[in-house]
Amino acid sequence: MSPDISTHVGPISLERPTMLASGILGISLDVFGRLYKEGAGALVTKSLSKEPWDGYPNPTIIGLKHGYLNAVGLSNPGAPYFAKMLSQNQTVPIIVSLVGSVPEDFTFMVKQFENVKILGYELNLSCPHVEKVGLEVGDDPELVHTIIKSVKKESKVPVLAKVGLGSSDYLETVRTACDSGIDGITAINTLRAMAIDIQTGRPILSHKIGGMSGSPIKPVAVRCVYEISSKFDIPIIGCGGVSSWEDAVEFLLAGSSAVQIGSAVGEKWTGVFSEINDGISKYMEKKNYKKISEMVGIAKKF
């Protein structure tokens, strides 16, 4: 019998431990359906705001020597539009990512999804390149507390918080989130970074500073998952630089119950989910693990 790769992130059950990370291809139900069919255990939408946002002018995403740099500017068609689109959803396990500045932004958006079939919410407290939202929220413990409290009150589905490395101690954000009743933590978002073109002397991104993703950030993300799981009793989804089954296993050993995949979707295309699921399954077989939970956090034993 082949191992069972289904997993739980607290109250959220997933058939498979690989999820689509927020911001990647996440604007169409058709695409979510395809990626689910191709192996993703769940799909996180782009971070949605109250109103549609065009995002920054291009260049918004470029390749680096290793990994990618982006400052998309959270372009998205807005929560109301998105909720309408998702209202046709029956079977696809979708997690809705939300971004905003004040608790009212979030509760407004949660209301839109009241009658929509979704697995849960992921609060983006960590976008590193848009002012007044994302990290600027995540860095403010008071705000984190009231936002989570109000979303939890309004929402009928589980709520995750996505953290990243900002200008304050992210472990304090996690603590606040835990104290406010969060159901799980996604770690991490991109790292604030920059690339300058030496021929023109210009920052390449139109927003100048953006977020780095992909393989260069994996060791930082693994560290964060390990730290969070060492310090808090909270379900974790690992994110940052997962592009092979070995990477995914490393995150599970560090203490996350599932992983999100972003940049590697662009790099390896949509087959990346089943490739990684298969690799995890074979690894479990070799190591004689019957369930994902048996391997979660093993690195902490040493």
Binding site: L25, S28, V31, D54, I61, G63, G78, A195, G266
Partner: protein, 270 residues
């Protein structure tokens, strides 16, 4: 910083050719771009303005490539205004390409949609019998006629120019001409690029007549590398799964010919 495939690489414009009052071809040296397949595109960085997708055009000179740009909004206008010696950034090439068929081939293009078609011609056999229908609104907007004639010199071919107002070539739409042609000719393949309404009709005509057809579609493109999602087209991504799709795939895609997305991702009718 170190360059990779996906990092804009600065190239210097070394020739500018006026095609029409609003269309220009700008040439630059780049080995990678000089070798791209027909249908592939580059993301072109116009520093300080924007970065936009552009089909890669051919150049007769080895190691050179070109873009043919129509003045439109801010980025294309800035690109259109670039002079010899100016710098732009390029990354790519991205996307798939037309399948190369043999025999009696029909190419139907409109406006800058001709770019990948002209590039396609350079990949065809001398023994192929190529017909190109090129459409535009009016005489002053016609371009690439002589470029096409030159590339097809010495082969069995036909270049048919169509203008909506009849000021040059045939009067009407490219699809009117195509309708006529398929009645009397047995084409082995049809390739099209241009306004989506036009392509939709081309694909329908070809499919009805059981001719293999491929179209290169355009969608809002921010990354070009299958990450941002802005180019989504049904359950596919134009930048990675396309830009070239075959007729069957296109006709089963409810967005084809009808809707496309804005910068924020909202669906909009054509």
């Amino acid at each position: 910083m170190q360059k990779s495939f996906d990092t804009p690489k600065i190239v210097t414009i070394d020739k500018v050719v006026d095609e029409t009052p609003t269309v220009r071809t700008i040439y630059f040296a780049d080995d990678v771009m000089s070798g791209v397949l027909p249908g592939q595109f580059a993301m072109v960085w116009v520093p300080g303005v924007n970065e936009i997708p552009m089909s890669v055009m051919i150049s007769q000179e080895k190691g050179k490539a070109a873009f043919t740009v129509r003045k439109h909004g801010s980025a294309t206008t800035e690109l259109f205004s670039k002079k010899v010696g100016d710098q732009i950034g390029i990354r790519g090439p991205y996307g798939n390409s037309f399948t190369i068929k043999q025999g009696k081939l029909l190419l139907v293009g409109g406006g800058t949609g001709l770019v990948p078609l002209i590039r396609l011609v350079t990949f065809l056999q001398k023994t192929d019998d190529v017909t190109i229908i090129m459409g535009s609104k009016t005489k002053s907007e016609v371009f690439f006629e002589s470029a096409a004639e030159k590339l097809l010199e010495g082969t069995k071919h036909q270049v048919i120019v169509v203008t909506e107002d009849g000021s040059y070539g045939k009067k009407g739409l490219v699809t009117d001409v195509m309708d006529e042609l398929v009645k009397t000719n047995k084409f082995d393949g049809v390739y099209t690029c241009g306004p989506e309404k036009m392509m939709y009709k081309v694909v329908q005509i070809a499919s009805t007549n059981n001719i293999h057809v491929e179209a290169s579609i355009e969608r809002m493109m921010k990354c070009g590398i299958g990450m941002c999602g802005s180019c989504c087209f049904g359950d596919m991504m134009a930048c990675k799964d396309g830009t070239v799709f075959d007729g069957k795939t296109l006709l089963s895609n409810k967005e084809f010919g009808h809707t496309h997305r804005t910068k924020s991702g909202v669906l909009e009718n054509y």
